[in-house]
């Protein structure tokens, strides 16, 4: 496992202060340690992703940085200011989208934007924000009548109402249909184009791969890897992945003995990393192999053949699988 620190030092630009600087963050809830010694920096203008399954500690980490929770240990500097000491100063300059979009009842879209605008010293004109997020048609609709995608756009619009330097998006596309998700991705890319720094959490690897400049892979309250998606894949899921349904009589040790196999993860399905997929496939599909013949009655089709076979390039999903031995979505 590679520590995050050395890579960070390499990516940090000389003389420029990071937008977020987190050191040794710890948060406990009774017996459970939700965040267990997390350290990282987020540079100006980047989209920084936090990838991990539910309960990995992404939201808790985010909410500590946003000044919503107090850590048990560690330091957080946001835009050069100590969040724990001056939460008000920081909140004036950041934009926050919480995981659950919560708005007051019986409020219309325009009114919600006006309301949040009034909470900041400096805010963008409501009409400009409505236009930017394509909410003109729904400006006079009650917020509880919006679709999931519209609600999410409003939620991001509210996070940007104070023209913040730094925006936090907590699972911005969870629960959305593919079309709405694509739409939100375009919105986030638009935010980056305006020079904002974005920190987002997600448990969708496609989202992290498409949007993020750098990704912190988080598991059980720790950062297990941090780099660009491309580097993470090259490091932890190189080459090709061969996947298939688990076959009785075929265990991980047998697979590790096959030619060309680099890594084997059994998690419902079998997932093999290799640089020579041809030789792995050849061995797997051999009709004389021990597992292929073990269940058959001699003649006829073998019972225990490889099914649901899939051969593909490595993804962040494989990175997570290889780092933790578990799948992102369980």
């Amino acid at each position: 496992m590679i520590a995050a620190e050395p890579m960070l030092a390499a990516t940090r630009l000389r003389g420029e202060m990071a937008d977020i600087d987190v050191t040794g963050l710890v948060k406990r809830y009774g017996e459970i340690t939700a965040v267990n010694g997390v350290s990282f920096t987020v540079e100006k203008g980047e989209i920084f992703g936090m990838l991990g399954p539910n309960g990995a500690g992404k939201t808790t980490t985010l909410e500590i940085i946003e000044g919503l929770r107090t850590p048990d240990a560690g330091q957080v500097r946001v835009l050069g200011t100590d969040v724990l000491a001056h939460p008000g100063t920081v909140k004036e300059r950041i934009g926050v989208q919480l995981q659950a979009t919560a708005l007051p009842e019986f409020t219309k879209v325009r009114e919600a934007i006006d309301l949040f605008a009034a909470l900041f010293r400096r805010a963008r004109p409501t009409d400009e924000v409505i236009e930017e997020f394509n909410l003109e048609e729904k400006a006079n609709a009650y917020t509880n009548n919006l679709s999931g995608g519209q609600m999410q756009r409003l939620s991001i619009a509210l996070a940007l109402i104070n023209d913040p330097d730094l925006v936090f998006l907590d699972e911005p596309t969870t629960g959305l249909d593919p079309q709405a998700r694509l739409n939100i991705w375009e919105v986030v890319e638009g935010v980056r184009k305006r020079g904002k720094t974005v920190v987002l959490t997600t448990h969708y690897m496609e989202e992290a791969e498409r949007l993020c400049d750098r990704v912190a892979v988080i598991d059980r309250g720790r950062i297990v890897a941090l780099d660009t998606p491309r580097h993470l894949i090259a490091e932890y899921a190189p080459g090709t992945t061969v996947e298939f349904a688990l076959v009785p009589g075929l265990d991980a040790d047998t697979l590790r003995g096959l030619p060309g196999v680099e890594r084997v993860v059994v998690d419902g399905r079998v997932s093999i990393s290799t640089r020579t997929p041809e030789s792995v496939l050849h061995a797997l599909l051999d009709p004389q192999a021990a597992w292929a013949t073990s269940g058959s009655d001699g003649g006829g089709e073998a019972e225990n053949t490889i099914r649901d076979l899939m051969v593909r390039h490595g993804t962040l999903e494989d990175v997570f699988l290889n780092l933790t031995g578990r799948s992102l979505r369980e």
């Binding site: 926050v96 919560a102 007051p104 009842e105 009034a118």
Partner: protein, 359 residues
């Protein structure tokens, strides 16, 4: 200030749009007025007294005659035993005992005396009205407490003939103070907390105090708005009258609202869920409604219950409103009521602010 105004406006606007809650509170208050108006007749009270005259002076005769002359009042002078027998079988609302020395006291030639009312155990709002009528006639005979005033023989026309509607209007004002104060604040804040709206606000620079005070002021405005609608309906539709000053109605309304807003606020610091808040609010509001003299006088209640009811602020709000609107009392008569409500408001809000939780 900008944030406070926006938050309070949002609270008022959302409450007005929440028709169900609005109609539930205001509608129930109007319904109570209609029911009690039908029960007791819109045009006057109908109560019957037995009087025991232990004085037999010209003054005591005049006193009883004045009472008997009031529309809707039936009064028979009887012996002590006969009067209490009537009361026991519920054939009269109350028994009035005029003490010996009443005439001398009225003529200011003897020590002050008290007329005693005995009500049947089946207390009703008719009994409360009879209380008020007798109190007013007696007050008229006592000469208003100023020694220099000569005792004029009272005329029936000058006596406030408190109708059921007249009695119900201040009761229903107190009812709205109770329900809206508790419900708008308690449910509003708990829903904001459970729905994570408070967390969302907390992610902005707005201060906790700003959110809370906007909620309280916004909720208070809604209560006042409902009272205004109720009073206008009471006066114009139901013909209820206010025998006192409208100006004097304001302090008990404001202080009562503040006290119950405070209690609602206190519930939010204890209740974890909306359902819990609802149950707690019901536990506070329903017993209070029946124990605080809104529908029948507290004098009919067991002593222990009375003591408990008098600790809680609704009895004081109800008393102050009835004193002013039915008896035409001045500020001195409601000073204690106002002080108790103010103490409740300050205490509850301070405690709730201290115990407040964001999530």
């Amino acid at each position: 200030m900008k944030a406070f105004r926006a938050l309070a406006l949002n609270q008022v606007r959302a409450s007005v749009r929440n028709r169900t809650a609005l109609i539930f509170t205001l509608g129930l208050a109007v319904l109570f007025m209609v029911i009690f108006g039908l029960l007791f007749g819109g045009n006057g009270i109908s109560v019957s007294f037995d009087a025991v005259n232990n004085d037999h002076s010209a003054q005591s005769d005049a006193y009883l005659k004045t009472l008997g002359a009031i529309d809707g009042v039936t009064l028979h002078t009887k012996t002590h035993a006969a009067a209490f027998a009537d009361l026991k079988d519920d054939s009269v609302t109350a028994v009035l005992v005029v003490p010996e020395g009443f005439g001398a006291a009225v003529a200011r030639q003897g020590p002050p005396q008290q007329v005693q009312i005995y009500q049947s155990s089946a207390a009703s709002s008719g009994a409360a009205i009879s209380d008020d009528v007798v109190a007013q006639v007696t007050a008229a005979f006592a000469g208003g407490g100023s020694p220099s005033v000569s005792l004029a023989p009272p005329q029936a026309a000058q006596v406030n003939q408190v109708t059921a509607m007249d009695y119900m209007l201040p009761s229903m004002i107190a009812y709205i103070i109770l329900f809206s104060g508790v419900n708008y604040i308690a449910f509003g804040l708990v829903e904001m907390r459970v729905g994570q709206i408070l967390r969302r606000f907390r992610a902005t620079p707005v201060r906790a105090g700003t959110i809370l005070s906007a909620q309280v002021v916004g909720g208070g405005l809604i209560v006042l708005l409902q009272i205004l609608v109720l009073v206008l309906m009471g006066v114009w539709v139901f013909g209820a009258r206010n025998y006192g000053s409208w100006l004097l109605v304001i302090p008990p309304i404001l202080l009562g609202t503040a006290a119950f807003v405070g209690i609602g606020f206190l519930i939010t610091s204890i209740a974890k869920t909306t359902d819990a808040a609802r149950a707690m609010a019901a536990m506070v509001t329903f017993p209070l409604m029946f124990l605080s003299g809104l529908f029948f006088p507290m004098t009919g209640l067991p002593e222990v219950v009375q003591v408990i009811a008098r600790i809680l602020p609704l009895a004081w709000a109800s008393d102050a409103l009835h004193q002013v609107m039915n008896n035409g009392a001045g500020f001195s008569a409601i000073t204690t009521d106002c002080l108790v409500m103010a103490a409740w408001a300050v205490g509850a809000i301070a405690l709730a602010t201290w115990r407040f939780r964001w999530d």
